[in-house]
Subunit: 87 residues, 4 copies
């Protein structure tokens, strides 16, 4: 498996572990704002993962498509994802 994939998988495993922690906080009746901040932290991990996925996508899939001269679909796909990602 590539270094990037392991990095992405590790980020996701960390996110899972943090979600377990948030579930525990809810069960323990911890303060709402602390819980909300923890959810934001997990969102940060998922964003980081997604950025790495997209960075790799551009460096490999989009790049190959451009080299082969059939990039239109790839670029359209990328812009559609950006539309979903960008607030």
């Amino acid at each position: 498996m590539s270094h990037d994939k392991m990095y992405q998988i590790n980020l996701l495993k960390t996110a899972k572990g943090q979600i377990d922690g948030i579930i525990k906080m809810l069960e323990d009746g911890r303060y709402c704002i602390d819980i909300s901040n923890q959810i934001i932290a997990v969102q940060g991990l998922l964003k980081k993962t997604n950025l790495d996925v997209l960075d790799n996508h551009i460096k490999h899939c989009v790049k190959e498509a451009i080299k082969e001269g059939n990039e239109d679909a790839k670029i359209k796909e990328l812009t559609q994802i950006l539309d979903r990602l960008i607030k």
Copy 2:
């Protein structure tokens, strides 16, 4: 445990399950854009959870503080979280 807490915990458990699915997609070498879209879906679940946590926070903690006349700290806290949450 309150209905809201169970709802929030179920959302988080669903998010965990979906993260397992994304890890599998990475291990199987699935297409980057499909993986990115799945991460966005998990982000949506976490946002939903956080909104419910904050909605409850306003309905209970902030409301009580206002009734007791000592809301300044609570409102400041809420605005700080909004600052972190809002793009």
Copy 3:
């Protein structure tokens, strides 16, 4: 006019001025990434304005409604705005 309102109006006027600058950059054929970064800066000003508007809303409108015991509609409205604001 209140201090807060003047602050919000000044932020918006600054945002307008920066948009003029971006239009000029486009007319001058400036580099895309520089233009994109400038748009992000204006987004930051609008976020700041909106946070101040909401902070004031909570401190006055929501607070009054809670004091008068008819806060349901106000809190629902606030959560709906947060849903639109939060990515």
Copy 4:
């Protein structure tokens, strides 16, 4: 001037006009939530503009760099902007 640039400039001019409207709403003491919703609408226009700028950037600048084999800096730049844009 290219069609895309005119499209982006028109979006920005519309955003400016809407900001004028929000300033008027503030001066008229209009309801906070209505003002907040209007700011969100302007944010939408700016996002749309930025997406179009980035879409064009990928189709032209990034594509050329890849064709010429010197894409590393361009891709790094793009990922950095995505990091700023994505919540």
